[in-house]
Symmetry: C2
Amino acid sequence: MNYLGLDLGGTSIKGAVVTEAGEILREASRLTHAERGATAVVGEIAALMYQLAQGDRFAGVGLGCPGTVDDESGEVLYSCNLNWTNFDLRGALEKRTGYRVRLVNDANAAALGEALAGAAKGAHSAVILTLGTGVGGGVVIGGKLLVGYTGAASELGHMVIEADGLPCACGRRGCLEAYASATALVRMTKEAMAAHPESRMHSISADLGGVDGRVAFAAKAAGDAAGGAVVDAYVRYLAIGVTNVVNLFFPEVVAFSGGVANQGEALLAPLREQVRRASYGSAYAKKHVRLVPCTLGYRAGMIGAALLAKT
Amino acid sequence: MNYLGLDLGGTSIKGAVVTEAGEILREASRLTHAERGATAVVGEIAALMYQLAQGDRFAGVGLGCPGTVDDESGEVLYSCNLNWTNFDLRGALEKRTGYRVRLVNDANAAALGEALAGAAKGAHSAVILTLGTGVGGGVVIGGKLLVGYTGAASELGHMVIEADGLPCACGRRGCLEAYASATALVRMTKEAMAAHPESRMHSISADLGGVDGRVAFAAKAAGDAAGGAVVDAYVRYLAIGVTNVVNLFFPEVVAFSGGVANQGEALLAPLREQVRRASYGSAYAKKHVRLVPCTLGYRAGMIGAALLAKT
């Protein structure tokens, strides 16, 4: 029998029928219509489940959801994107569909997907870092997600790397997210552009239709000094965070997703060098962490949610 | 049958016969004589094992060792205290005693002891932080030590909390260890004493026979402003590190050992308040981490090593 993996977002709900091995057989999506309220959203999820079932039963159903979820109680404790607080999502879905749906934070679902069926397939342990609007991710050890006592996600972006540093949305100052997200890269790019009217970043961003995470990397590749300085500063901060992650978890793989990760080796090559040099005991270690790009794209969350339902 | 737990240090080797439940039946110790070389040290360990066996057999033997150990290969990869590199300690001990000894980093052994039989007994997960010469510790999830892919310890002290901060012995700058160890507290105390000749820290340290980690706490308790500022700064840095640990691992318990932890509630009460306020999602969480003192003292390492041999 196959598993159903669902990825609930603020805009759309994506679903896929997934084999035991993590392969997608078919997928579909619907609009979330979060503004219509929780009951309507549950109706949309149920409709997507019936649409994908095509009359068959699933061996299990998993659902990734933004925010803080508690798979033990079945509740979404807090989701900013959906505007939910302490909502018994599992209860509502079970009543509607008969399925006892497993819940997981959406970033954690994607991490589990990459760990079991993507970038870190077969690895002893993996940390997935998403470099997007924020810095998210998940930790998978021996095939299992690290969710901790509270059931909450591993908040890798909310590790302070600069005491009294830049303010973060979480209320602390100096979190990794404030330095290593795509948002932070755009901020650094804009600051460098303001300071360097001669930089090629100006023409590159005009060609790209605005300043985004690609501008500094493209400028660096074209030999632009100011763009190079932005990339170097960004990689340095990210390397501090990744080295912290390595010193704490000693995973076999750290895999990167999100907009900035699309830079591939332009990001990963200098990052590998810095992390290798700074990691604790690396001079004597016989095994080293591998830094690689994620491979499953937007499907990671659905696959991970489906495979969670297997466990 | 009982287990034997050994704690190998640069000065002495401690050993205890431990029940399945983590209770010590008898203990003994010998000098390490590290300067005589690895073979002599192996001889001392074997002699201690025979002394404690009293003719009985053990169900298993575990040994905690300073430095980086690999329980898979049985090697001590690097130990600064013992001056060993890539030493096949398990092979040497098996040849000598017939026992296949499990190896574990000494700080991790103590963490496992506290998690299974001490401060965090019965907890879902625990992080143990040792605030001594350095900042060490271990992470125990579901009764198992987090050792990672490389087999190395969870290096909690080598998490950068201040980019470009104070230099650390590991080669990085701004590690938690440089701000939250007893060594760091003594440094901060001395700096404050130099800046404040009027502070009561001068007479307190004279009474104590020198400047140690107790001076600033005692001064604060006596209403001394400069001493209070040292304690507040120390707790603030420690809170950053502990909040990072909470955001990454979401453990049920964080337990503290080492010299500074002897301050008890003078340390833990303000720490709890700051960590609770800064932890990610704590406003919506239904479960919260508990910050407590360790309870097993120097016996934690022997108990943990013995219980590792059970797994």
